[in-house]
């Protein structure tokens, strides 16, 4: 497994894959074929600043190769060598953590000023097997990660060795930190949810689930767990030992992701059938429940891999296996913005703490099985998109006017 990179290695430039001065031969596969010309320059503080200028094209509609970055998002430097399984921003600062199928957990510092975005790889740790999930402690000092090695590790970023703080009998698929309880919760394919006090080796509580944990969202005191076979279990974290409610998903196929409303009135659930369900917990609000279709292309129905609420505007983004991400407003029931489709699926995405950055990864998510995985040529990208107000701010429904 690749050795974790350090900041000193970075400074020496030995790990940079980009060549300077930059011509079109970037190894990350920037959208060269689309007729864009890129120039990269390395500033003094090891920032990678990408300037993209468009070359007027006559036949723009048909690039020779699919564009890996059609949204001209900023690309994070030194992405993982295998697919990204989760992305997580620090709640306190612009530090981005990505976990990957190459067994690494990596952390970048993202510098963002105006329209300029830069990324600096900071550090990384390893697991023994692919890492599937990550989360930050609420104070932004520690990262928790879990994966196929059935363990969750606690990584104090300021220095210090990562420590194993949780164990399951099967891979850990979801992890979340609950500041109000000072506990870590892990959801695993062993059909349990476990709560951990990181100072103790035994879980504080083990909660049985009807099936393998596929998705988890926590907004204290609301917690929703999506499991295999379309179970959705709602917990009130004031009483975590009791299932508050167990419902069957309003969608017909496998649950892929869930996220709770910022106001905890309900949650969104996404499935593999290109559909998102908006579900309210309160019975009297059931009439506000609905589902909508997304991430479909003709007859092809892709899965919705990630659902994220904007922290300020409370609109949300969906990202799918079709390689697209969209912004939606559930209250006015509109799609605010459809972004262009990347050439690879987007398995995960996240907003930063103030919603000024939207990180998403473009890499193979296994949606077409092992046969479509070519490790030799597969590239993983992590992109940063700057959401514009028009994309994420809710608008009243357009009834008569335009735009």
């Amino acid at each position: 497994m690749p050795a974790p990179f350090t900041v000193s290695q970075l400074i020496s430039g030995s790990n940079f894959e980009a060549k300077f001065p930059l011509s079109l031969s970037l190894s990350h596969g920037f959208g060269v074929s689309g007729g864009l010309s890129l120039s990269l320059s390395l500033s003094l503080s090891n920032l990678l600043v990408v300037v993209v200028s468009e070359v007027p094209m006559s036949a723009f509609g048909t690039p020779t190769a699919p564009n890996p970055n059609p949204n001209k998002s900023f690309e994070v430097a030194q992405p993982p060598s295998d697919s990204v399984s989760s992305l997580s921003f620090s709640p306190k600062a612009n530090y981005l953590v990505a976990t990957s199928w190459d067994n690494q957990v990596r952390c970048w510092e993202i510098m963002h000023s105006g329209a300029v975005v830069g990324s600096t790889p900071k550090a990384s740790i390893s697991h023994d097997q692919p890492v599937l999930c990550s989360t930050w402690k609420d104070d932004g000092t520690t990262v928790f990660s879990g994966g196929c090695d059935k363990q969750a590790k606690m990584w104090p970023l300021s220095g210090g060795q990562p420590m194993t703080v949780a164990m399951h009998d099967a891979p850990i698929k979801e992890i979340a930190w609950i500041p109000e309880m000072n506990l870590l919760v892990t959801g695993s394919w062993d059909k349990t949810l476990k709560y951990w006090d990181t100072r103790q080796s035994n879980p504080v509580h083990t909660q049985q689930l009807p099936d393998r944990c596929y998705a988890l969202t926590v907004r204290h005191p609301l917690m929703v767990v999506g499991t295999a076979d379309r179970n959705l279990i709602v917990f009130n974290l004031q009483n975590p030992q009791t299932e508050f409610k167990r419902i069957t998903s309003p969608l017909k196929y496998q649950t892929r992701c869930v996220t709770a409303f910022p106001d905890q009135q309900g949650f969104l659930v996404g499935s593999i059938e290109g559909r998102v369900g908006v579900h309210h917990l309160d019975d009297s609000q059931q009439s506000k429940n609905f589902t909508f279709k997304c991430h479909r292309d003709g007859n092809e129905i892709y899965s919705v891999n990630s659902l994220n609420f904007h922290p300020v505007h409370h609109t949300f983004a969906t990202a799918g296996s079709d390689g697209a991400f969209n912004f939606w407003d559930k209250d006015s029931k509109q799609r605010l913005k459809a972004m262009a489709r990347c050439s690879q699926p987007i398995p995960c995405s996240t907003f930063n703490n103030d919603g000024s950055l939207f990180a998403y990864s473009s890499c193979y998510d296994w949606s077409k099985g092992a046969e479509n995985h070519n490790p030799a040529t597969a590239k993983s990208h992590i992109f940063l998109h700057l959401p514009q107000e028009s994309e994420v701010k809710s608008k009243p429904r357009n009834t008569t006017g335009r735009k």
Binding site: T192, N236, F244, K252, D282, I301
Partner: protein, 316 residues
Amino acid sequence: MSFKKEPCRNFQRGHCRFGEACRYLHVTQQQPKSNVFGFGTQTGLSQQKKSNPLGFGTQTGSHQQQKSNPFGFGVQSSSHPKAGTDFVSKQNQSKLFQNTWTRSTSTPTGVAPQKSDNETQAANHKCTDPEACRRQIVEDFESERPLWKLTCYGHSKNAPCDIVGDISYEELRAAAYDDAKHGLNFQSIVERERNLLSSKLVEFDNLLRKPYAVPPGRSSSQTPFSGARPNSFPLTAQNSAPPLVSSFNQLGASQNLGLGIRPFTPSNNAFVQLNPNPFSSQSSNTFGTNNMPHRSEGAFNGHIPARTRGSPLHLI
């Protein structure tokens, strides 16, 4: 399809100045509730509860008021969209929380309220009309087959699954990586996945063909098949020697677990270990069944009269 939009009101009135370039659909007399927008689609049968056409702006005032907060927390939102508004003050939250929570805790377990919720939700569809259910299934399979096939399926929104045995992307990938680590070559991994896929497709086919007699119930089905030896090597077509029993067993085990609702109790299948180590190689009839789709079909046909409950992959 291009952008799903509302029908153009001007066009419906007869005079839209945008013409072809109009961003709304020029169709005549479409019902507002059509899913041209992709929103608010109420698929499934007679989901009266939720059949609010556009779903918004039609609440009666009373609904918006002080609704009993199920959780006893969170913002008592009106229909006002959350454009950057913050949460209600914490005092409100805790107060509300206490009120409703005490009510909830007075019930013996969390099950009681939950059951009624479930009932109200599922009340819309009780599978009383197998023909209608069947039509729903047919329609679903024709128009809404997702690209990922290794999935469960329920024909009705809030009813349990008709086909169980979910495998997620990550599970399949983890199994493949695990196999690769144990030295299996790429081709065998692909083969294994393909087998999984074909058995799953068989399941879907069976659901389509079989009449939908009873509401889905969790049943133990599937006699154990030939025990396959763990880690025996490459696939032979009609052989019960699975190539990747270890990882496949894991999947098989998980699916087993998935089939029963019982949380963690060992299933009737003696040979499949549930928790302890899904990754360990267990003899798996799942694989056996996989290899012999016909046999398995026969087997579960015998066991599950009218429902395609178990799949060749599952053993419970």
